[in-house]
């Protein structure tokens, strides 16, 4: 890895101010993803600003500091009760060792696992090259996107993001030019050439807190993922789903797909298929079909569509049983 200067920030606003004055800096949460990117020289920053020790006021139930570890989040009883999808996603992530170090903010801002992105021997549009090595007939793309963006076939790696989007969490961001709060679903953007970062965060903008609402939707939420290996694997497909049922009918629904596109994907057609309908076998099947109707899988990853549909059905069937 290239040499860099290392700073530790006492608060997120202080870190944001420091980053604003730097030209080639990155922020570090737990560092579990960043370290690998530095070692492979995918990222070669001059400065690394650690948020690990930043003090964040997050004592209120449902408020998650960005520096909370996945293990702490998984152990939060309020979250477990009020946002089961978030609890399960945190609890299933990675390994116990990584959950003890990795942070919520870092999980949301992590880079794709695309092996072409992470190996500088290959062309990658995210890294600024004209081509995407994943988008040829002979590429290896069994874990890549089934909803590829024209320029990029990477799959988004976060399992927490779909869950937070499904429960309609709010992300609070800090920047010297002004703070803002946005729906977790608006955090991510479509990829473009040369844009390593997947989020809409401006240079120097940092996530400080996430708030999970106390809502019927969040309480009736679930997260299911499919991975080939039980011990330490990223999911090949994940589904976070939440419904608000009143009077026997779905009045609000969120279905979010993970690892199928360069960003977590709201399956809005599937959500619309449910709203105004009772949650039953027929509507569940219709929603699952709608969720992947627009999928354009690559030659090695058609299986993700089949499994993805099945996961949507399993997630919704789980919500049907939930009280």
């Amino acid at each position: 890895m290239k040499n860099f200067a290392y700073y530790t920030a006492e608060s997120v606003p202080a870190a944001a101010r420091a980053l604003a004055g730097m030209k080639n800096a990155v922020a570090k949460g737990g560092g579990t993803d960043l370290l690998a990117l530095l070692k492979d020289r995918v990222l070669e920053p001059d400065e690394v600003v650690s948020l690990k020790g930043a003090k964040i006021d997050a004592k209120v139930a449902g408020v998650i500091a960005a520096t909370t570890t996945l293990a702490e989040l998984a152990a939060d009883p309020w979250i477990k009760k009020h946002a089961p999808a978030v609890h399960v996603a945190a609890d299933e992530a990675a390994t116990p060792q990584i959950r003890n170090v990795a942070t919520v903010g870092g999980n949301l801002c992590q880079s794709t696992r695309c092996w072409y992105y992470r190996n500088k021997n290959f062309a990658c549009s995210k890294r600024g090259d004209d081509a995407c090595a994943a988008l040829t007939a002979r590429s290896q793309h069994r874990y890549h996107a089934v909803f590829p963006h024209v320029a990029c076939a990477s799959a988004h790696a976060s399992n927490l993001a779909p869950a937070l989007i499904a429960v309609a969490a709010t992300v609070h961001c800090v920047h010297p030019d002004g703070d803002r709060a946005l729906d977790a679903g608006l955090l991510y953007q479509d990829p473009a050439k040369g844009r390593v970062q997947d989020t809409i965060l401006r240079p120097g903008e940092l996530i400080e807190r996430i708030t999970v609402p106390d809502s019927p939707l969040a309480r009736r939420s679930t997260y299911v993922e499919f991975r080939e290996r039980e011990s330490f694997d990223f999911s090949a497909v994940s589904v976070a789903a939440a419904v608000h049922i009143d009077g026997g009918k779905v009045i609000d629904a969120r279905i979010v797909l993970g690892a199928v596109a360069p960003k977590p994907l709201r399956a809005t057609a599937a959500e619309q298929a449910l709203v105004g309908q009772p949650l039953n076998a027929a509507t569940i099947e219709k929603a699952a079909a709608a969720a992947f109707a627009d999928a354009r899988p690559l030659s090695d990853n058609k299986y993700k569509v089949v499994i993805g549909r099945r996961l949507v059905m399993r997630a919704l069937a789980g919500l049907k049983e939930m009280r």
């Binding site: 290239k2 040499n3 696992r113 874990y143 499919f226 330490f232 694997d233 299986y303 499994i307």
Partner: protein, 724 residues
Amino acid sequence: MSDLKLGFPGNEKNENFETPDNVAPPWDATTKFSVMGKPHPRLEAEDKVTGRAKYSYDIRFPDLIYAKMLRSPHASARVKSIDISKAKALPGVLYSEARQGLTVRYAGQGVAGIAAETEEILDDALALIEVEYEVLPCAVTVEDAMAPGAPQVLNGPNVGGRPGRGKERVDAVHKDADIVVEAEYRTQVQTHSCFETHGCVCKFDDDGSLTVWASTQSTFFTKTAIARAARVRPENVTVITEHMGGGFGSKFGADDWDRFCVLAARATKRPCRYLLDRRAEHLIAGNRPDSIQKCRFSANKNGTLMGAWVESWGTAGVGRGAGVQNPTIYRFRAAGSEQKDVRTHAGRGRAFRAPRHPQGVFALEGMIDEVAFALGMDPLALRQKNDAHPVRSAQWPVGQKAIGWRKTPRGNGAVKIGYGCAGSRWGHNARPGDAVRCRIGKDGSVLFANGSQDLGTGTRTLIAILGAEELGVPLSFVDVRLGHTTDPYGHASGGSVTAPSIAPVVKQAAWLAKRELLEHIAKKIGGDPKKMELTDGDVLGGKKKITFKQACALLPVDSIDVTGDSRNVFRVPRFSREVAGVQFARVAVDTETGLVKVQKIVSVQDCGQIVNELTVRSQMLGGVIQGLSYALFENRLLDRNTGDMVNADLLNYKIAGARDMPEIETIPFNVAQGGTTAGVSSLGEPATVPTAGAIANAVSHAIDARVRSLPITPDKVLAALGAL
């Protein structure tokens, strides 16, 4: 003339055997052991779990320098120029090499090398090397390399291999048979993924002698190879391998990177360390070749196997050795194969735990199941009907009972539960040539020494147990020194030769030392040394009973120092021709997602004469774990455009982890085998051979559709179910 009783309960036979005067009497089925056969923790167990054990990877010196090579990102290219000047100008860079004009044949091939004061400087220096390549077309897959107009990988044709013999006979048998079954099976490339990567630490002393701490399966091969590379006389080279973090057949000598390391050490007069990083370990340090196996088997309606013909293609990258051990195990009227060995632009294949066998058995046992289903026969019954091996014939019912064998799959809803089985065969690979030193000190100390290494299988403990048993002392009295080439010669650990080969030699060394001790003691306490014995730490049969320690104290010399060798200890009748094993699997398959969860594996393994029950079980467990990982997960994925490996890490190169483990029931089958005076057999390799075949058969049983390709990933299961 005395009788030797060989075999196992239910199948024993007597052989006439006369022990020569100068040879330790052989152990047989009637021997009452006091140390052998029980479960003993490894002598170094505590060192290993506490981190005290120093592997070659851990060797450091205050003035140590670090070496590493820059590796080609292209699988096929010509190096037009290398500019190493910026790297050399970096403070702390001490030594370099640039391979101008090199023709690159596989991604990961070393193009330039650097040695530097620290690993950080080394990393920066490598990034400063500028290489201009002329990229050439590459052949990444077997199909690529066989296509018309394919780029030639090396001199000579891409396709080599062994011509098939006897196809006419097999075809004739097929014609006479009631049914013929045809199918194509495929297996993937598996990398060894040794926990401790390949490499060494080299240190020259002021007198020009060289010490090498190597991670190797052969200290003596490494010694010769390093001496040649460094142009040092072999007698001035010592190779040390105190502990080994895995080899699996990939570490038989000095490699390109070891040579660079020793040259850097010599040029700088500093100790130098080069152990590969994980990426290089995957790319260039060996792999199990892949295979495409076109099989044609036939049988008669009464369940008699008739003909078997296998035509195979596979690639060991730029190397050779991509055959499959197939068809075998069962009695066929006529059987044979034609195996094509196809060169591709990829890292060289190497011997990998039972080379050729797991891939061959996967196809063979799949075909046996397919024949059974075509005949409407229970696949286990078909195997038993056509298996003549005395040990395996006894193992099938043992495994059947332990797994709870069922003809019909179970399961309601999406998850189906299926059962499968497979067999294995291996050689009794006892090889003459080892020598072992035994030293008994006046202070009561006992040391056995051999210069070869403990591959991680428990050889150190095995030697101690054999020595203690023959000497007649408790295990705690015995020390073992392994892995220093200053001690007597020992074989490379490959072909599962180590235990069967060294066991009778340890026994012989202990027996010689014991005879010498008793002769000394007889003179001191009175008695006939020929009638005296050492048992459980006591000297019996003399005029008075004394302990072993008291006896040692009476020695008129500082120590007894004898060397046992392999002369005469291998001329003992043998019970059976081959090592036999069977495994059974029970799996649960989610038919909606294609996910396979192995619930249970039963491994029944012929172990010959068991020395240490604990490490025998450990070998059997390891074989099942590695076989399961091969069956479901491991797969070297090369980018099909450039030939570079896309999953050269331990995240996307998936190896089964703790949560993927099934219940594993190990049933060691103790057989008084003979063959040597110790009767110990080969175990490490056969223990992994049937696992993938048994799992694959269980998956196919569960879903009533056959998956003929490894690894059995969810997409393949879904495809077999017609869901893709």
